[in-house]
């Protein structure tokens, strides 16, 4: 069967021959450094736009070959970014929660936050960019362009340390404002995509799969497989119960030993100290020997924006009635003004 070709209206972009980006300075205005010259970073209209479409996940380990997971390839958890007819990404500001996943993913650092954390794409051309008509995706040039792009060195952080509070507050405010974000798939994908920056493979459950109750499984670079529950509501106790369910099912159905499990809960805000959640963490450790690690979205967002690798099973994330506060050197005296992110609200 011969498949018809599609018309390509938009031209693609390439760096001119000889031009090589030495490194990219991240900041309020992302800058390319090319042979001693500095120019604003600009969108290259990648054939495989990494701001929209994530790279393929690694394969699941052998014992999880029957595990079903969400096959979505979108980077943006709320699918707010898509390709426009001109070949540049366009952002639906009514769906964008300002998480910055597209910003973090762009190999050319061509997406930026403005002062209100609205995200825009820099489309400006400079002397180092040339336009050419799109050829089929199998063209060697485009593949080379994409593969070269992913190896460009970035320096700095996507969000200034001093701005982290405002950034986290902006994301939280958007999440709470959008009713439709209550759907678990958005929250799950958001957390999964962020943790992938730290080298984890995260597989979210397929939405609608009533027999797979877990939100996600997370696999470390050392191959440890653990369940993860993501709770942006207030039901902390039910989340603990769900996690025990997940650990047991992973053990029973997929031979992932419960004793090796390092399960994680990601909240929007830490549960209140009076909630039974904290005592339950102690009880589970005492009776089952399993440590449950607690993180918040704000911490994950902040560390990812600072380009610091997150260790979800660090001691700093094991919280209980003895220690409610997430302790991380990079976050000391930051995020204090965002309630519930580092520790339960007072």
């Amino acid at each position: 069967m011969r498949i018809l070709k599609r018309k390509n209206d938009a031209s693609t972009r390439l760096l001119i021959p000889g031009a090589q980006i030495d490194h990219i300075s991240l900041g309020a205005q992302n800058l390319w450094h090319i042979s001693g010259v500095t120019v604003p970073a600009s969108c290259m209209k990648c054939i495989y736009p990494l701001c929209i479409r994530k790279k393929e996940s690694s394969n699941l380990p052998e014992n999880l070959s029957d595990f079903s997971y969400d096959q979505s390839y979108f980077v943006c958890p709320s699918q707010a970014i898509n390709l426009g007819k001109d070949g540049f990404p366009t952002i639906d500001q009514e769906r964008c929660i300002s998480c910055g996943l597209c910003v973090f993913n762009c190999p050319y650092a061509s997406l930026n936050f403005d002062e209100n954390y609205k995200i825009s794409v820099n489309k400006k051309i400079n002397n180092f960019i040339c336009e050419e008509n799109r050829t089929p995706a199998t063209s060697e040039k485009q593949i080379l362009q994409s593969s070269t792009a992913t190896s460009v060195n970035k320096i700095g952080s996507h969000v200034n340390e001093k701005e982290l509070d405002n950034y986290v507050r902006a994301v939280y405010s958007n999440i709470k404002a959008y009713d439709w974000f209550n759907c678990p798939e958005y929250a799950n994908r958001l957390v999964a995509r962020l943790l992938e920056f730290s080298g984890y493979d995260v597989f979210c459950s397929r939405i609608g799969d009533v027999y797979n109750r877990m939100d996600a499984i997370i696999i470390s670079d050392k191959g440890n497989i653990s369940p993860m529950e993501i709770e942006f509501g207030m039901d902390a106790l039910e989340t603990i119960r769900a996690l025990l369910d997940d650990i047991a099912i992973l053990d029973f159905n997929f031979n992932c030993k419960a004793k090796s499990s390092k399960p994680i809960v990601v909240f929007l805000e830490m549960p209140n100290v009076r909630q039974g959640y904290w005592q339950d963490i102690n009880d589970i450790h005492k009776v089952l020997g399993i440590k449950i690690y607690t993180l918040t979205l704000g911490v994950i967002l902040s560390l990812t924006a600072l380009r610091i690798k997150i260790n979800v099973n660090a001691d700093a994330s094991y919280l209980s009635t003895d220690e409610y506060r997430i302790r991380h050197y990079a976050l000391e005296s930051i995020l204090e003004s965002v309630d519930g992110v580092l520790e339960p609200r007072k």
Binding site: M1, K5, R53, D66, F67, Y211, L244, D245, I247
Partner: protein, 564 residues
Amino acid sequence: MDNTQFLVMSALYDNLKSYESFNLADMSSTLTNSRLMTAYGFAGKRALEKSNTNDTSRNSTLMNAKMYAEIFRMLGWIQSYGVSSYPLVFTYIGAHIAELAKQESLAVEKLYQECVLGIVNPNKIINVKYTESSRIFMYILKSIKDLDGLMYKHEMCMGPMSFDDQNDTWEDMVHNIKEYRENIQTYQEFKEEFELFSKNLNMQPTSVDNCTRMPIAMIKQCGFVEDKYHDLYGRKLKCLSLTKLGESTLEKYSTYYDLRLREFNKLPEDQKNAMIRLGLFGMFKRSGFEVDEFRQLLVKDFALVEKVTDGCEVLFSPYQTINRQQIDSILSDLGLKQKEGHGALQPRIIKRKVDESKDMQEIELSDHLTAMNLSQRAQEIIKEVQKLSASNSKDEITSILFKKYQHATQTNFYPDVTEMFNILGLNCHCSRPGDHGARWDAIIIDEKQSIPIEIKSPTEEQNMSVKAVRQALENKIILLSREPYTTSRSAASLALGYMKPNDRAEVATLIKAFSKAFNLNVAVVDFKSLLNMVVSAVCDNKSVSISQLAKLGGLTNADIKKKE
């Protein structure tokens, strides 16, 4: 477009395109292996094994595959291989959908819109009971426009979804809906009209309402409509409103010649072929495909049918209207599709699933009932059973009491369940409301193996679910950790609810998983079993020992008949 149906189509095409035809078993095998379909928490082979049943209508993976097959048939992406519904083949349109689905978002969107607008009745593809002649999605868009830009889903049922362009007048249909809006003041009145409308269709209102789900999903997916709240029938209702794309699509396609099956059948053969090419390549062209190589041929076709179409572009989706043989022959002649050969279907052998739900543990009763210092409420329950026993068998007593508690709330159910355990000779206490230290609803206290009980009243959940099992596990962990009462690790934690779980396999699996992972046992007891035990206690002086309860695990049952 992050849409499961495109991922599914892409996976099916990639895996099955080399077959001459494929069936539902091939589809379910492909989709479970691709993790696009699961059964009982599994993908892959285990999903197929667990869903395999003698009655294929209860085989969840097959039925899921069937759902996709029929939607894709409706969209013109697959058709029957031969005369009967199955097996199936991919259409030329379907192949393009599958290829596009692997690319970035906009590519597949336009072709999908063409396929949605291509849905038409009558047709040669789908056997349906309804007889209305309609290009349904054009009519839905048009009616939203004519109804001042807004339409409520039930108006859609009563309006365009019931419109027959051979027998009804468009203006009358719109006028009727407008009259409802003008004359009906309250939602209750409108609801009654809708119920009458449903009755005339011999359908339940819920079923009629459910018929709107797929059309609304499709036009939203196309981006033709969005939700807008509007005051209608005395209430703020979620209505469909045309987007700019919806408006421009309606405007554009309204100028096309809408070719239907009845007109197509009347055409001479050369004009039929011309219409097939114009319809099909029109869809491709509007979706951004390069069809210039066929330009000369299409110009000739256009001229050939000009008198029929009046010089207008043709709105006709061949794969959604006529059988594929004629279309595929044309494509073969153009060098776009190979002629079909003869290949064998590869059968799939699937193992039978094991019915885990039959694995139920019987609760044994002993003969000696220890006299306990029973509460007033316990004594009332005993008297009630004794009174009923004067004229009813034990089974009947259980049935009467079971029905009596049908609507019981926590307030009554929890204390009565507690007292029933006491009647059985146990030392059971109900937790005080607000006592956060006692997470369990009740507890049977013992020197060595106290048993916490998680209770679900019928108003909380009629059939027990995994929720109760999870909470029973939590209760046990708390009891072991905080030690307000003595217990042993091996002693069961009980979950008691009104009726046995709907999905017994799911609950049984979870309990087994808890046992394997944590070495902790949960036992599920239904209320009828408890009543059976209580009736045996009152009438036959039977009891149940703490050690018997502590040894329980999984789904349990206590049956009066077996004890007589």
